[in-house]
Symmetry: C2
Subunit: 362 residues, 2 copies
Amino acid sequence: MRAAVAGRYVSPHEVTAAWSSGSSDRTVRVVVDAMGGDNAPDEVVKGALQAAGERVRVVLVGDEARVGRLLPPDARHVELVHAPDVITFHDEPVAAARRKTASSLVMGMKLVHEGQADAFVSAGNTGAVVAASLLYVHRIHGVHRPAICSIMPAAPTPLAMLDIGANAECRPEHLRQFAVMGQAFAREVMGIAEPEVGLLSIGEEETKGTGAVIEAHKLMAGDPRVRFRGNVEGRDIMDRAVDVVVTDGFTGNVALKTIEGTAKAVMKAVRQAIDANLSTKLGGALLRAELYRVRDALDPEEYGGAFLVGMKAPVIIAHGSSRARGIANAVRQAARGVVSDLLPSIARELGAGSPEGGDTAS
Amino acid sequence: MRAAVAGRYVSPHEVTAAWSSGSSDRTVRVVVDAMGGDNAPDEVVKGALQAAGERVRVVLVGDEARVGRLLPPDARHVELVHAPDVITFHDEPVAAARRKTASSLVMGMKLVHEGQADAFVSAGNTGAVVAASLLYVHRIHGVHRPAICSIMPAAPTPLAMLDIGANAECRPEHLRQFAVMGQAFAREVMGIAEPEVGLLSIGEEETKGTGAVIEAHKLMAGDPRVRFRGNVEGRDIMDRAVDVVVTDGFTGNVALKTIEGTAKAVMKAVRQAIDANLSTKLGGALLRAELYRVRDALDPEEYGGAFLVGMKAPVIIAHGSSRARGIANAVRQAARGVVSDLLPSIARELGAGSPEGGDTAS
């Protein structure tokens, strides 16, 4: 079997290396929505070119003229599929996913649906990516709701948190499924052996939280598939109390953005401290290289993107502001999603049989 | 009238000064639960002594022998009321508030109820403080639910966020009332003129969020009392996009603890960067004083505690881990709550008449 590299976190950078030396030798094809994101198509194409190689072929979907211009004449392992339309951040997600069938986003999804590609990456409209995934890629049989699973920076290694925005409101049973899917993601994609799960709440006691959280606690505690460590609190996320944090998409999205905003604000305060006077400026110069490492470790681009778990193919939602590095890491993460045991694992645990036997989207 | 110092944030340190030079000349009596908190009674008593003065009399409630020992023989402006029992962090909040009538927490609340003191401070069991407040201090007439309002560190000045934990689940109407109370708090206690309110959600658009949040958005947008700036996201809290962030007690508690945890994790990473080698250690030494300022600005003790708004008297819930400085600032904040126009303002806007005419607790 395609086993995870047990016991330690595997970054997207390492994926090609780990995989070449491993048991899988297949080539994967990853669709990249060339028109999605604040820095599309330039940075998206640049990132796609960085990640493309012998094992990872990239299919860029987007405006032929605009994207073609960005490709070097000798570009290898990359092909371009023309899509005349674009879904923007201003489009209403569900309507756009249904109607803009000539958009790069929908055309890319269809390539995955038709088996012409194995995975999908976009830095575009998150809601539209989720809606189009449900319409064209479909859920794994037995999965009630897909969830967006994010790799969160934490010391000494990152952890997984889901859902960070696909479902604003969740029933307890959804949260239990997120636990199972998050565990599979941490194990198969992040390389964490025997990942432990915490439920985000407002106190350690099982009686704390909303009605849905209290009920989800019971379901998770009673589910032998879930390695459940009980409730965790906001401060436990960055403190790395567990490997997988489960929450609804509203709370998870607020927590994710709060972490990003707080990390940015604190680093800004540190920069201002350095700028205070000549002596602090000298101090800052001596610390520069190390502080860059701190900044980089907190950078979401390091992890590429968030993974929409529960679908029949890996769908990666990169940060809207992704630059080339973020896109390249998102492509690597998508590739790892394909060659790992993630999808079969979710299908085994939540459904009946393989990920191919799924039901249609709601 | 007792006007706020308009246009700038007033820290708890400044409260006595601002107030002596202002129009109010009354003396306030603040009850301090001497037995509440991780560092009770030692640090609590120390903090109470720091804050006590001509204008702020402190009534320490707790074990006579243990607390009495900590008071200097010539202690002025401080008195001690014996309470034989204690509510701990392990007690079930509502049951303890009802049954442990000889606890420092409940006896202190009763002193406020009986008019023997004007405000209440505890670093103890938050749930028990909220439950006891409802039982003994009572809500202001017209207030559906009290909310815990926290002063959050942000640059250049702090902002208010509520509810951070009194109500795990909130109806839209509750959130609207929180907006009105949060505005009054920012104006009267924090000294922010014309505070602006944001509703915490997962996107700027009014269609984003849970059903309750979408409905609350409509209520707040249509309420002439609320200076509403629309939805804000997690990253906007520390970015200081608005003066008051409104949310339910579950999301607010997660966001607050996530901010604390993230700030701590980032400062730890910076410390580790400083420890990397001799050159970075020198850099750190040059930066030390400025980095302490950053750390202090992020320290919740700077702000003393969270304010339970909507009650007939100021009730301050200090951080469980508060040391003397945190307790002293909590007492100062309580005093400001008494002399400011906060309570009359909430009563005027949400009820009919003065805070004295309130209904009983539910």
